[in-house]
Each structure stands twice: as C-alpha cells, then as structure tokens.
Symmetry: C2
Subunit: 631 residues, 2 copies
C-alpha cells in the first residue's frame, strides 16, 4: 500500500500535539517543517524517539531555502548551513531534505552553474547518507517549473539528488502534469499534494494561505496522482498545506480530514488506473433513490411556528411518535418530521445550534449497510455513523437505517427497505384520513448553515463518502453582509432527480449588541420543494393561509428592464411575490415562506428547461423582504 505522510505545518498546535494527531489519524510518517522544530522544546533525539513511539517515520526535513547563489562566498556559507542541517537530520533519523529553487535576485540563472552548485550539495549529502529532493517553487526566480527542476536534476545525474513534485506548484501555474510520466519513478524523491480553490491572486499568497486537502479545492488531483503513480514512484504521498483556517482549527479533526483526503484521492486515481497496485479502494458508493423524508428539530419553543408554516404550504398532520415529541407531517409523497423535544441528544444538533434546524435528510437506499461499510473505510468514526440511544429506530436492527453525520447539526440517513415498516410502527397514525393537496413534487435542494472552520471538512465528507460533485461557488452580497454559498450535486442515483445540497457560510460568532448580524437574520438554511406549476401552486397556497414576505415593487420594475417577460406572467409574479431568473438553459421561479426563528425558511421552486442555478441573484431581494417581515 502507498504510505501516507503530512507536513507538520498543515496542522495547528504544538509539535507534540501535531504528532499525536498525525499518528491517531493513521498516517505512516510526517515531514518536519523547520519552524515547528525550531520553536519546539523537543531535542532532535527526543523528537526521533517520540516519532518512533508513535510509529511514525520522519520522511522529510523541509524547507532548505536559497541554496544556489551567484555570490560564491554566499553559496559556500549555504553549504555550511546545509551541513548543520545534515547533523540535525542524522540525530532525527531523517534521510531526505527538501531544497527549493531560489526566488531571490541572487538565484543562479545559468543552468550549468546551477547544476554544479546542486552537485556540490549532493556530494556532501551523499557522504552523510542523505538524499536531496529538489523542488521548483512556482515563484522561483529562474527554476519555477517541474520540467526545469527535473532537467537540472537529470543533468547533475547524482544518486543523492532527485526531484520533489508538489501539486500546488505545478497546477497553480496551469502547467500540464502529463510530462511527469517522463521522469523515472526512482528519481522522484518526494511527492507533496495540495489542492486549492480557484483564485485570481498572486500565486505566493495563494500558496501560503489558501491551500487545502485533496478534494477540498478545484485542482484535478486524480489526473495528477495517476501521472505520478504511473512512474512507479514508491515513496509516501504527503500533504503540505498552508491554510489560515487550519492553522487555528482543531488539530485532531484537521488530521482526520487530511488522512481521509488521501484515501479519497487514491480511490479516484484507482478509478482512472484499473488494476493498478498499491492504491486504497473503499467499497463503492451504493445507489440511492431520492429524498424520502426530512426531520426538523424545532424544540418546544419553535414547534408551533413550524407547524403553522408547514400547514401554510400544504402539509398535513399525519401522526405522532409513540414515545417521543415527534410528529409526522405529510404532503403527497413528502414527509417532514417535526421534532419538538427539548432533549438535544434526541434533536441531534449539538447544544448551541440555533433552532429550528434541518437535522436529518432521509434518503432511500437499497443497502444502508453498504453505505456504512463505505463510510467506515473513509474513516467516518463509528459514533458518527449511527447515533445510539434516543432514536428508537436506530436502536432496532430492523430499522434498517444508517445515519451519516454531515454537519454538526445535520445528518444524511440512508433508509433501507425495512425502514418504512419500522417508521410506520413507531408512529400512531391520525384517525382521520388526510385529504391533502399534491402541489409539491419533491425536494429541489436543501441549504445548510456552516461555520467557516467546518466548511472544508464538510465539503470533503460530501465529496468523498457521498461522491457529490461541487458546482461553482458564489459570494452573494446583501444588506446583512455577504453569503458564501457553494452547492454540491449527488447524481447518477437511480431514477430520482439529483439531490443538491448548498453550504452557506455563516460567521462563527454569536450575536452581540454591537454585532446584530453575527447570527444572520434574514435566513440561511432552507428546504426548497419543487412544483410543476408555480402559479397554480401560489394560488392554492393563498387559500391555505400562506404568508409570504412582501417582495419590493422596485424588483419587478427592474425585472422588466432585464428580461423580455409576458406582461401577464409579470403581473402574476407581482401578485404572488414570485421571483424570477433565467440563464441560457432555462428559467427558474421562486416563492418563499417567512422564516421560522431567524434562520430557517421554505422555498417552492419551478424549473423550466435546464436552468442551472438556484436563483442566487435574487438572494439579496429575498433577504430584504425577510428582514422587513421581521424575520
């Protein structure tokens, strides 16, 4: 199997805390990032001993900067500096050092002279039994591509000199990684992997602050990894992530995400290289078949408001749980469980999460156990696979449900064939049969509130365990701030329409008198139901007592200048407070409820043709209307 490694800079904490977390997450080794070592009270021998106790190898000492110099006296001093580091590495039991290309004006710009200087270092390293991995920084003054670095290494042709490949330095420049296949695997001395979001910014700043784990950004690391694997490279796959958020997040959680990201990446590479050895492959993603139920934790305080809201969009009360303060509400094939308990172990969201919150998304699956096996292979801890206790169905093996946590507040429940009966038995049905309208036809998307420091971990979990595909993210300014929104789509799953989940970033701070918008009034979380005819639905809802936030007249006056709309349609949109968007593929109509609490609301949408978005451009108008309605 491929060995896994991680640079200590990728995590928050003291060096001791980092090593403990790295071992606990299942890594085989680590790169020691020099500043982490310099600040540490661990002597080299103590660090070596600590690593050995934890079963970790020290795979790389890094970085060694600015070796080459047009000033030969400086180069000579740099060799002395290198010998100091070789002494240290000997004590550490680390045999590979990263040397990166120089970004300084003094960098050697003549390839032959540069090769000679690297040869000088390699000779000294060789005598000490040390290997030099030479890497092109994307912002190197002369050497800034992997091909150039490899050409220099090939020219030196010394057993102690190889190259280090770093996906960030290669992919951030838009270089074609296919040429990696031209490098002999044994001359690749180290591999560093990092993903990153697409950003139009200086590459140095991008690298130092915004790197992410594979599967959290937009680089095609599966292709990259396949190129490297094809060379026969046999060293560790290592993560070197500089990220401002990770620097202050939970060390253990970040390390677990890091290890998961390498398993996820190996699975993707294996898909491209069937039959290839050494790659980790978890059980495949089982099929799913659309959203079957939702559970909303409202607590005793918000339950009444939630009931009224559900009633106003055509849901009817259908029964009560035999043991808990849990009610079933139905509309056609759609089921919403209203959770009015005050016990947070039962309502699921962690203490402190503002209620109401969408706590469970129930999805029909032929084989929940296969989902559980996949989740465990991707290192979702067992306690996050199934909540023990309170919920009767999960204590009962016949319940046939596997619950996978997505955010702190929300899980996805994979509901197997037997779960329907178990669910039915748990509830005492309403004696009167329900006569409900069938306006709503399914779930278009759900939006979840996510804190900045949870964002990347949640993204990775949805992409790895669930195989969801990220769409382009958007920043939506409105009158209470700016909402970062990123949707993901779960496709290829039977006949059901795709499930979209939007992650909406909310500030992590509680509200205070000086920060009225810190908890975001105007709504973040919502469930969008689909309908076949938005105008018929809107008209029907009026009879049900639907209260909608008043959309400004100015919105419709402006809509006329943007779209060539039938006056009759426009009149109806004004009348019912329906919002509109269109793109090259189709049209989108939206209708909102007021919010329950400050945060949660429902949306009813109609898609015409192949409209791609979720009406993001209308978000500010919707927020303004919600704020006016006192939401």
């Amino acid at each position: 199997m491929i060995r896994t490694s991680i640079a200590t800079v990728s995590l928050s904490g003291t060096l001791e805390q980092k090593l403990t977390a790295i071992a606990a997450a299942g890594f085989d080794g680590f790169e020691i990032f020099e500043p982490d070592f310099i600040g540490s009270a661990l002597t080299p021998a103590a660090l070596a001993s600590r690593a050995a106790d934890l079963g970790l190898s020290i795979d790389l000492y890094q970085p060694f900067r600015d070796l080459d110099s047009t000033d030969e006296a400086q180069y000579a001093r740099n060799l002395v500096r290198a010998e100091h580091k070789f002494d240290l590495m000997e004590q550490l039991g680390c045999d590979t050092i990263l040397v990166c290309s120089s970004p300084l004006p003094s960098a050697v710009r003549d390839d032959d002279r540069l090769a000679a200087q690297l040869h000088g270092l390699a000779e000294r390293a060789h005598r000490r039994g040390i290997r030099v991995a030479y890497e092109a920084l994307a912002w190197g003054a002369h050497v800034n591509t992997y091909r150039h670095a490899w050409n220099i290494v090939a020219a030196v042709d010394h057993p102690a000199l190889g190259t280090c490949l770093d996906s960030f330095h290669i992919l951030s420049r838009g270089d074609d990684p296919a040429g990696i296949r031209d490098i002999p695997g044994e001359k690749i001395f180290f591999l560093q992997l990092a993903d990153a979001p697409a950003m139009a910014m200086d590459v140095l700043q991008w690298s130092r602050h915004y790197r992410k784990f594979p599967g959290q950004g937009t680089f095609d690391l599966a292709a990259f990894g396949a190129h490297v694997h094809a060379t026969g490279y046999a060293g560790p796959w290592s993560l070197e992530i500089f990220n401002d958020v990770f620097r202050q997040s939970s060390t253990g959680r970040t390390a677990a995400d890091a290890h998961r990201s390498l398993r996820h990446l190996q699975e993707q590479v294996a898909t491209r290289m069937p039959g290839s050895a050494g790659l980790f492959v978890p059980p495949a993603r089982p099929d799913i078949d659309g959203v079957v139920s939702l559970r909303i934790a409202a607590g005793p305080d918000r339950a009444a408001q939630l009931r009224t809201m559900l009633g106003s969009i055509g849901f009817g009360y259908a029964g009560r749980h035999r043991e808990h303060e849990l009610e079933l509400w139905r509309h056609g094939e759609l089921t919403v469980a209203v959770d009015a308990t005050s016990d947070t172990a039962w309502t699921a969201p962690a203490a402190g999460t503002p209620l109401p919150v969408l706590s469970q998304i129930g999805i029909r699956s032929a084989d929940p156990d296969a989902w559980e096996a996949r989740a465990l292979a991707l290192e979702v801890p067992a306690h996050e696979v199934e909540l023990p206790g309170a919920v009767s169905e999960s204590a009962d093996p016949a319940a046939d449900v596997v619950r996978l946590r997505v955010t702190e507040a929300t899980s996805i429940d994979l509901r197997g064939p037997a779960s329907r009966a178990a669910w039915r038995e748990a509830f005492e049905p309403q004696s009167q049969p329900l006569a409900l309208p069938s306006l709503l036809t399914g779930v278009d998307h759900v939006a979840l509130a996510v804190r900045p420091d949870d964002w990347d971990g949640i993204m990775l979990r949805l992409r790895s365990v669930f195989g969801m595909q990220p769409n382009e993210g958007v920043d939506i300014p409105d009158s209470v701030g700016q909402l970062r929104s990123q949707s993901l789509t779960m496709t290829g799953t039977g006949s059901a329409s795709p499930l979209r989940i939007s992650l909406n970033m909310v500030p992590g701070c509680p509200a205070g008198p000086e920060h009225p918008t810190a908890i975001r009034r105007g709504g973040v979380s919502h469930v969008a139901f689909t309908c076949a005819d938005i105008f018929a639905t809107a008209a029907e809802l009026v009879t049900l007592g639907h209260r909608r936030p008043a959309i400004s007249a100015n919105y419709y006056d402006d809509l006329v200048t943007r779209f060539d709309l039938d006056p009759q349609i426009l009149w109806q949109m004004r009348e019912f407070g329906i919002l509109y968007d269109a793109d090259g593929g189709g049209e989108y109509f939206q209708l909102f409820t007021e919010t329950v609490g400050a945060d949660l609301f429902f949306e009813i949408v109609q898609r015409v043709g192949d409209y791609r978005g979720q009406g993001e451009l209308n978000s500010a108008v919707r927020v303004a209307a919600h704020l006016r309605a006192g939401c």
Copy 2:
C-alpha cells in the same frame, strides 16, 4: 466647503438604516446603489421624500452597466433600459447617472463608434435634464484608464456627458493620476474615492471585497485629491467602498468612520495646497513628549499576578489611590498604575474584554485642550474624548487630562502640565522611599489586541487624530494560528523617542471546547520597555526573581546558521533566553516575561543601530515558549 457623499453600498443594513446613518454622520448626500434600491420597499417618491427629510441630496444613480455593444440591436435595447432608469431618476430627483465602461466581449472597441453610442445616450439624457458620468472600470474590455474615458468624453463633446473619476480604478492599476489636471473641472461630473491595502490579486476581486476608506489603505489619496481639487471640480467628494467587513459591521460606526476619512483626506490635501479654498482643516496636531504612564486594568482576579510580574522586572510599589483600588508602581521615570477594581466603568474596558488589558497610555502634552479641539473637529464623539465620572482626575478640571479612546479597551491620555500635581495628590505615597534599579529607560512599543471588525476604524483614528504613520503589516504564523500585525509610529513630537503602537488582530469569537485557540493563548497584548544593555538587565532581573518562558534550544542552534554571532554573545542569549534579530540597519534583542492571564505580557528590548522591526520573525518561537509555560 466641499460637499461630502457616500454610496449606499458602503454600509450594512436596510436602505432606511443606511440613510439614517449617512445623515447622522454629517454627509451632504449619497449615491444610490441600484441593488439597494431594488431590494427596498421604498417607492421612488418615498425615497426622495425620506432623503429630503434627512437633508440629503441624491447625488448619483449607479451603476448603469454595459451600455455600448457591437450588437446594435442590443445597444438599442440598452437605450430603452436607460430610459427606464431616467424615469426612475426623475421620480427620485437625481440628475446624474454613472455609466461604466463595458467589461464584456461585446464591448465596442472602436473609439469613434463608442463615442457615437455614448452620444446617443447623452442626447436622450439631455432631453430629460440628466447628466451622464462615464467611468473607466479598471477591468474594462477596451476602456480601462481614466485618460481613455476622458478622451472619449472629449470627443463626444456633449453638455450632458462628463467623466467620473474613481481613485480605485486609477490607482489600483498604477496609473499616474497627475494627468487628471488636464481635464477641465466642469467636465468631471463625479468623484468617487476609495483607498485599498496593497494586495497582489486580481483587480476585480480586490475592488469588490477589499476597498477601504481613505486613510485605511496604502493609496496616496492626498496626491490624488490634490490633482482633482486643482481642476476646479466643484462636485461632491464621494466614497464608494465595497468591503466584506463593512458589509456586516455596525452601520452607524462605519458611516462615522467614512465621514472622518473625508475630513482627514481634506486636511492632507490642504497641507499640499496651502491657501486653497473649500477644504476642511481641523486644528493642527499639537506636539507630544513621550509616554509618561501606563494603566493596566487587571480586576481583582489578576492584580496579584500583575504585581508579581511588575516586581520581577524591577517595578516597585509606590502608593495607593485615596479613593480607588488603584496602585502606583514605579521604575525610574516609568509609572504603571495597577487597576484592581471590579467596576468596569472604572477599569475602562468594555464588559467582556478579557483582563488584564492595557487600558490607558499616558502621554505628556503641553496642551491637552488643543488635542481635544482636534479630536472633536475629526468627529471623535465627546463621550469618547473624556470618560465622565469614576476617574476622579477627569472630573476635576485641574486634572488637565484629555482622554481619547483608541480601541474598545484602550485610550490615549494626553496629560498636561497640571496633571502631574493632580496625580500626585490623588495617591497616598508609600512611606518608605523606594530604592529601585534603573534598568528600563522607556517604552519602545505597545501592542493592542483588535478584533477584525474594529481594525479599520482604529487604524483611521490613529492616522487621522494622532497623525500616526503606518508601517508595513505582517502576517505571523505560529502554533495557534496566524497573527495579523500592523504597527504605526508617532513621530516628530519633541525630543522623545517615537511611540510605536502595534495592532494585533484577534478572532472575534469566544473560546469553546472545539475552538481552544479562539481566544489566543500565548499572548497578544504587550508593553515593550527599552533598556540600554540587555545582558546587564537580564542578569539583574534574575536577582529580582524574573521568570521567563523557556526558549527552545533548537532556536539557538538555528540562530548560528543564520547570523554570524560572537559565541560569547550567543552563550549569553541562551543563558538568559534572549531572542535576536538583525536587518540591514541594526540589531534587536528581546526578553519576555510570562503572561498575566492568557493575553498580556511584558517585553524588554534593546535596539542597536537603526533596526526597523519589532522582532516579528521571533514571534512563533515566543508563542511556543509561552504555551509551554502554561500561559
């Protein structure tokens, strides 16, 4: 006087809240940002009436995008769209519309054709009594410089067409603004002002998220403003700021900062253009003469620890306040008041600020009243000029102190000649005369913890009221996150050495079990005292019982590879835990105390030659040592 204006997009809140804050801050008018209007429930007539009630003029309707098009049918539709907006402007009573250059592939790239299309719009506007202000976006497809925009406007030569100058679009590109003097003032139809921090990133993203008010960034807006003023431009100076932090900050506070920024800018322009009319000029900055005292609010819980710490660096107890739990501690000419009261009105920092905190920086001034007049002219509210009540000295006119708030927790006190006597009378002196060492010679710098959403306002206050000059900011990664640090220097003030104040950004969130570093253990705030001989001082402190955090041995092993240090010096640094840095100008030696509480510590430094920094590179090593010491 120059009229002041601001675009509604610059502030958080509903349109109604924005207008109220704009009027309260003292602006003469505003630019209506179209999305703010579209989301609002105010009809055009109601908005006009609201503005009139508040005494505000509607100076600009903006933006009108993508007028010109190589598709003539699209251009024709755009003219229809413009007529819709003219209708609206008529109802608003707004006579100027901003038209920005097109960034689209369909933008007209032939200047004559572009002029013809703009002429077509100008003709229509003229008929309606409306003026068109044409602006070059920095990312315009064809027109992206102010010269180009002005050349087109000059070619059209129509009374209803002028140009709009936006400092961001001009200075972000590095364009020379001197050419503005070639534009006749009456053809400049509008002026938008924005500052921005130096950032190596895509100019569109920079513009949309990181603009700041004048005096909060690095643009030379004083020179820019002088060029514009020299043309005879008589319209408003208006702020158009897109900033992610301002979008969710207190509306009123941001508006007040905005207005202050324009007063500050006018003062700077006036300095460059002596005798020029129309510019606002506050009373000049009076001289000051160095730090004379510090007050630290420790509360009853931290006072004992603070006393021990002060004693360990050579301060001695010198007396107690006759009325309050306030003690004087002295060392040579230095005075520290230890505030052990539990009353937050007296300890000054707002409730919730973690103690201990540096609550007052006392600076000697010949004329505190002149400082008060300047502060009021720069719109520091009277209640922030002097805290009434609790502090006896400020209730007493003879006290001769003016207190100017800098952060939520810290003020700068300007202490006049009479304050020394008042101070002496308020304290009951220690009966025993003190025999103190004179190791410490002054205050090198103080560092204050600042929340992200307070940062820009504090920066502006220090730069405007106090005339402080910002140095380059740094991001310092360490084991608990990353510290954004920015120092400012107060110079040219008598014989005293300059006062440096560092602002250190801390996350605004409280600590939680999952976020152990949200309140930053390892220290943020500190006071750095100067000394003449760091080794003699360190030796003396040992006898005083000074406890220092243990600096890692690895640090000194690495120091050898970086600097050519005398082994004897290095040995002493190891022995005393002294940190070291050097730059082209000189050397810097640093010695730390442990922290009081989680946050505050003292530093003793020696500067040799003209060293510019504050040892920022050593910060991570210091934090690691503090964390090990349980700080």
